[in-house]
């Protein structure tokens, strides 16, 4: 078998001034090409896990390996937009190119195209404070997508979006996956979204342990699928797992 894209073993994370471990012996592996959804109650450690995968945070103990060839092709979307306030929409999206020294006429066109796709074609010259919350989040998404990553880590990317925009972007993500050699790990609070976008759904509990690791086998996704009984079976099962978790402290 191929080497896994991501291998996590006995991962423990504790912040210096916290009483308990945030993540407790988390182990899983992600195969090449596989897409994973992360679910769990608020404050259980989803963001922390994603940050560990990205290498923003260092583990307290345990192993975490991202496959060699992917390591430099990771992209991250923070839970909040995190735009540079003195840069316009377009400049914010061009930032990765400027920082890696790969700003060309071509990459600039790519950025404009992505922003158009995300419904921001008329906002290229606006500063972040002139954008709505959902628009800001879409800019952040564009910033992650333009770098053509192989692995995309997304922290609740669609939480601030209306259903319709959200569905459109879900499908955009699926398209990108099909078109490029892209896989993603994403945090969401929507179980339906987890099932719709994930090949697997990981459920973390409040103690920071992996409570469930469900494989989703569904036909090629389109939004109609959400109305099918098989889809809803998955959603209901996960919902039950979720409700079986201990109450939030």
């Amino acid at each position: 078998m191929e080497a896994p894209a991501i291998l996590v073993r006995d991962l423990v994370k504790r912040f210096p001034n916290q009483a308990h471990n945030v993540l407790e012996n988390v182990s899983f592996s992600v195969a090449a090409g596989e897409c994973v959804a992360l679910l769990g109650p608020s404050g259980c450690g989803k963001t922390t896990l994603l940050r560990l995968l990205m290498g923003i945070e260092a583990p307290t103990s345990g192993t975490l390996v991202v496959e060699e060839s992917l390591r430099s092709r990771l992209a991250y979307v923070f839970q909040e937009p995190r735009l540079v306030p003195w840069r316009t929409t377009l400049e914010n999206v061009l930032l990765p190119f400027e920082l890696t020294g790969s700003l060309t006429a071509e990459t600039r066109e790519l950025a404009v195209a992505r922003l158009r796709e995300l419904g921001l074609g008329e906002r290229l010259a606006h500063f972040p404070r002139e954008l709505s919350g959902g628009m800001q989040m879409r800019v952040a998404l564009a910033r992650a997508l333009v770098t053509r990553p192989r692995v995309l880590l997304l922290d609740e990317p669609f939480a601030a979006l209306d259903e319709r925009t959200r569905f459109r972007l879900e499908d955009l993500l699926l398209e990108l996956r099909a078109e490029y050699d892209l896989q993603y790990v994403f945090v969401t609070h929507s179980i339906a979204e987890a099932v719709y976008l994930g090949d697997r759904v990981l459920l973390l509990n409040n103690q920071g342990r992996l409570h469930a690791d469900e494989r989703v086998s569904l036909p090629p996704r389109d939004q109609d699928l959400k109305l099918q009984p098989e889809f809803n079976r998955y959603v209901r099962a996960l919902s039950q797992s979720f409700h079986a978790l201990e109450v939030t402290a």
């Binding site: 923003i56 937009p81 540079v84 840069r87 930032l95 890696t100």
Partner: protein, 253 residues
């Protein structure tokens, strides 16, 4: 720069002058210590040619000193920021520049730069570089940690991060530093001229020995005016920079 904005300053100036004039003419303050504005004005008009030449020469020295301070101060701050060991090694000793009375190192300055403008500029530079350095350094260090994290994702060169993140967000600090430096460069130039001659400094110096307080204050006011012009210039620069782009604090709405 609208009239309405400047009005309070003019009114205050007017009140100040009236109170000053009255308290001298009523004998509350002896006029050989603090001459009345009318007296200063008369002297200034009488010696306008000399004052004008002196003012121009001092202005050029201030400007030189200030530009050198800005360039070297910001550059040094960036160097200290990039190489923390440099910062820890050298920064404490930069305070020396601020605490040494120029007059104590006057002979050294004269030997290195001669009797003339260069010494004056050096003096203006020496006293005004530290505020810019210190403020810029604080600005570089006080960037939004969230943005710092964002930038790190792309593993940019140190230089790129500084150019695109730290320097832009240090702009308010740099401008505040410049505002402080203006006054200091002015006094530095005046003191430099005490040492090397020329400009308003020499004028004030000899007026002091002659007890020509009217001329002393004429010279001092001319130098204050210079500083004011520069402060207004920096305010304009600051509006230009901050008006065009929000170099402000918060990284997200």
């Amino acid at each position: 720069m609208k009239l309405r904005e400047r009005l309070p300053a003019w009114i205050f100036l007017f009140v100040l002058l009236v109170v000053w004039e009255l308290s001298v003419s009523r004998g509350l303050v002896p006029d050989y210590l603090l001459p009345a504005p009318s007296g200063i004005w008369a002297t200034a008009v009488e010696l306008r040619a000399e004052l004008w030449v002196a003012t121009l020469s001092t202005f050029s020295s201030i400007l030189w000193g200030l530009i050198a301070s800005a360039v070297i101060g910001v550059t040094a701050a960036v160097c200290f920021f990039v190489v923390p060991i440099l910062r820890r090694a050298i920064l404490p000793f930069c305070v020396f520049f601020q605490t040494v009375p120029i007059i104590a190192i006057a002979p050294l300055l004269v030997i290195w730069f001669g009797f003339g403008e260069t010494t004056v500029r050096a003096s203006a530079f020496i006293v005004s570089v530290f505020p810019i350095l210190a403020n810029t350094l604080t600005g570089l260090e006080e960037t939004d940690p969230l943005l710092r994290e964002l930038f790190r994702l792309y593993r940019p060169s140190r230089l790129k991060t500084i150019l695109k993140l730290q320097l832009p967000s240090a702009i308010p600090y740099v401008l505040a530093g410049l505002r402080i430096a203006v006054g200091l460069a002015t006094i530095g130039a005046i003191v430099g001229e005490f040492i090397a001659g020329g400009g308003l400094g020499a004028l004030i110096d000899s007026a002091l020995t002659q007890q020509r307080t009217d001329l002393v204050f004429g010279g001092v006011l001319a130098s204050t005016l210079l500083a004011l012009v520069l402060v207004i210039g920096i305010d304009l620069l600051s509006r230009l920079l901050m008006g065009r782009r929000p170099y402000m604090r918060s990284s997200s709405r």
